[in-house]
């Protein structure tokens, strides 16, 4: 072999090593923020973290995305908005993450989104739902595949209006409803939706009231509810305030036709059951559908095996725990990012900076059935009022019936009709 040929081989080998080294260097650092301590942790945030982690680990095992390794850096927001903001800033400025993912509480999302926007980093909100996060803020780098909070109240009131006459025996205009909510960004936003929906259907709103989730006593609220005599209560809370309210409602003899819970603590059935026992039967919750309750035939064929993988990984991580909707929510939204946003940003827009990720997110156009949560994806453009919001996301109403979660609304997703009113003889039934 001539000297020239040997030199050429050596050059090619060196080039190969350099390229390989570059490929290994290419990685996306993701700051993942959830509440791992404090009241929100047990109220659903830790389950959301588990779902996101399952999906991140899955893509790490796959070797990354489009030649980029994935390096997550997890942070605990401690159920405090100030800590969430500080952690977001720390992750961006000190850990030099390329983007942020997660965020459970709307009270954290509202200020954190504004802060991250000023840092020009891409932010992928898997969970928090308050409209206030995006409404009229025209944020550039903040995207939320999750359902917007105002739709929760729409779903709750639409369902009650549909069955008012046939099951509750009253015309919607004669129906007395109470709207009770925790007084953070999440509860206030959902309550606004309840109020707007009640107005639309002509319900008689007999009480609308907020409370602090750390209030040690809610007996005055229960007394007011008794005095107002609502047929239906729309309640938005975390936990343990939900168990405190419902326990005091039982002790004070509150009787109604239905209690419609709306996400957060109501979607953690294990805890509801532990705190309330049989009284948790026939309660409702509203959230994106649990990925394990979607009709596999209505989904993109690539998704059912992923749903199975998430379920298996969750069972392994938390043996004996029931598969909460919270887990699937963050897993689905993380999967959406790794399969539909990140690859496009890398291939089409040449990288993983905020601008590339933003453009890739705006390109996503999935029809209904395109995500594990059943809905499609199309983000509102920057000029829209809800810029960054997935306009194709919708929630479903689920009812706990004899230990099983059953989707009861909307009719397109319905597995069974809702049990309305509360069966006679049950704790909260006025029959």
């Amino acid at each position: 072999m001539s000297k020239m040929v040997r030199l050429a081989f050596a050059f090619v080998a060196c080039l190969g090593l350099v390229v390989a080294a570059q490929a290994q260097d290419r990685k996306i650092k993701i700051g993942v923020v959830y509440d791992l301590t404090g009241p929100f942790a047990g109220g659903g945030s830790e389950l959301q973290y588990t779902g996101a982690k399952i999906m991140i680990d899955y893509f790490i095992k796959q070797g990354g995305v489009e030649g980029y390794q994935i390096e997550p850096i997890y942070a605990d927001a401690q159920s405090k908005p100030d800590v969430a903001i500080n952690e977001a800033v720390r992750l961006v400025e000190q850990e030099k993450v390329d983007m942020l993912m997660g965020f459970y509480s709307s009270a954290q999302c509202v200020p954190a989104a504004a802060k991250v926007e000023t840092l020009k980093k891409f932010m992928w909100l898997t969970t928090c739902i308050s409209s206030a996060v995006l409404d009229n803020r025209h944020l550039h780098y903040v995207f939320r595949p999750q359902v917007s909070g105002n739709l929760y109240g729409v779903a709750a009131t639409d369902m009650i209006a549909e069955y008012a006459k046939s099951k509750l025996g009253k015309e919607p205009k004669d129906l007395r409803v109470a709207i009770v909510h925790e007084d953070g960004a999440y509860g206030v936003d959902v309550a606004k939706g309840d109020e707007a929906g009640s107005k639309k259907h002509g319900f008689n709103v007999v009480l609308k009231e907020g409370y602090s989730i750390t209030a040690p006593d809610l007996s005055a609220l229960v007394t007011k509810l008794k005095r107002a005599r609502p047929d239906v209560i729309f309640h938005t809370g975390y936990n343990p305030d939900i168990t405190l309210l419902l326990r005091q409602a039982r002790e004070q003899g509150l009787k109604v036709q239905a209690i419609v819970g709306q996400g957060a603590g109501y979607s953690v059935y294990d805890k509801l059951k532990e705190g309330l026992g049989d009284d948790s039967n026939h309660l409702f919750t509203i959230d994106p559908i649990s990925i394990w309750l979607t009709n596999p035939k209505s989904l993109d064929p690539a998704l059912p095996p992923v749903i199975k993988m998430v379920g298996d990984a969750f069972d392994k991580a938390k043996p004996g725990a029931s598969r909460s909707a919270h887990v699937g929510m963050s897993a689905s939204n993380a999967y959406l990012f790794f399969t539909r946003v990140l690859p496009v940003a890398i291939k089409k827009y040449g990288g993983i900076d905020g601008e590339a990720l933003r453009k890739a997110a705006l390109d996503v156009d999935l029809p209904e059935g395109g995500t594990m949560l059943g809905f499609g994806v199309k983000f509102a453009a920057e000029t829209d009022q809800l810029a960054g919001q997935n306009m194709r996301a919708f929630p479903v109403v689920t009812q706990y019936v004899d230990g099983k979660a059953v989707v009861v609304w909307p009719k397109s997703q319905q597995q069974a009709e809702p049990v309305l009113p509360l069966p006679a003889g049950t704790t909260y039934s006025n029959k």
Binding site: D183, Y211, A215, R250, Q252, E274
Partner: protein, 293 residues
């Protein structure tokens, strides 16, 4: 006039009685803290966290080890009493002669330690013993037996502490030390022993509160956030170390929360209660029942 009379209905009476029952719960919470401050002159910022540990103790003894409630409760009281004595021995005693701010910071550190300890050891899940006590129904009014029990326990606890302090030798020594801690040493009283006993009694009262609170609330590492601040406000409102003042302040505070919440938004009940507290700090800074000097 008719509208004015409309508010005097059965629900108003229910709110008044529920306020009294809530007052019982708050009085129970304040009892031990007042005892500690009155004698040792140290504020246990971590008092609510001792109650939290006691609630976990009840949960494990009752729900995991399946002990009957009436067996688990005394064990839990003893556990928290021991914890109170340990807290004094390890943290307070070395700081007895330190400035008050150092003592506050030290017990504040114990607060975070206990919260983190509970998070690591017990996890972040909410725990519930699942005991449903019957409900007392009087006409359209319904009351919680758990709160009635707390109310009765607060009354008994108050009387028991009073009798102990007045009628026993140790109680007399405790009162004497509370009046002048320097002179009692010269008279041969073992102040270390008295402090340790007082801390154990304070811990036991926290344990008693834990046994009853576990019937009303879920247990989680951060339950102190709900009950801690209110407990301190009541103790300060009644005059730190003043049992009767704390007792009266508990019921006043609870009634303002209950009736304020009934006539306005629930949150206004708390705003009014805290507003009342601030006002009283101007009018009677040493507490509601403090003697004018």
């Amino acid at each position: 006039m008719e509208a004015f009379l409309e508010i005097f209905d059965i629900y108003l009476l229910e709110a008044v009685i529920n306020g009294i029952l809530l007052g019982g719960v708050l009085a129970l919470l304040a009892l031990g803290l007042n005892l500690i401050f009155g004698v040792i002159d140290v504020t246990w910022i971590c008092y609510a966290e001792l109650i939290m540990i006691g609630m976990y103790g009840m949960y494990y003894l009752f729900s995991v080890y399946h002990m009957p409630y009436w067996v688990a409760a005394p064990l839990c009281i003893l556990l928290v009493a021991a914890l109170g004595a340990l807290l004094h021995f390890l943290v307070i005693e070395p700081l007895l002669s330190a400035p008050p701010i150092n003592q506050l910071l030290a017990t504040g550190g114990v607060l975070f330690f206990l919260q983190s300890f509970a998070t690591v050891v017990f996890g972040i899940d909410f725990r519930n013993v699942g005991i449903k006590l019957p409900i007392l129904a009087v006409g359209e009014m319904h009351f919680s037996y758990a709160r009635l029990l707390a109310f009765v326990a607060a009354l008994i606890g108050m009387v028991a502490v009073y009798v102990f302090m007045k009628k026993t030798y140790v109680g007399t020594a405790i009162r004497a030390i509370a009046q002048d801690r320097q002179i009692m040493v010269l008279m041969g009283v073992d102040t270390k022993r008295i402090y340790l006993i007082t801390s154990a009694i304070g811990g036991a009262l926290a344990g008693l509160a834990a046994c009853l609170l576990v019937l009303m609330y879920d247990v989680h590492p951060f339950i102190g956030l709900s009950i801690g601040p209110v407990t301190f406000l009541i103790c300060v409102l009644g005059g730190l170390g003043n049992f009767v003042g704390g007792f009266v302040a508990s019921f006043l505070f609870a009634e303002i929360i209950s009736l304020g919440g009934l006539f306005s938004d629930l949150e206004w009940g708390y705003v009014l209660a805290f507003g009342f507290f601030i006002l009283m700090m101007f009018i009677r800074p040493a507490g509601l029942l403090a003697r004018r000097s």
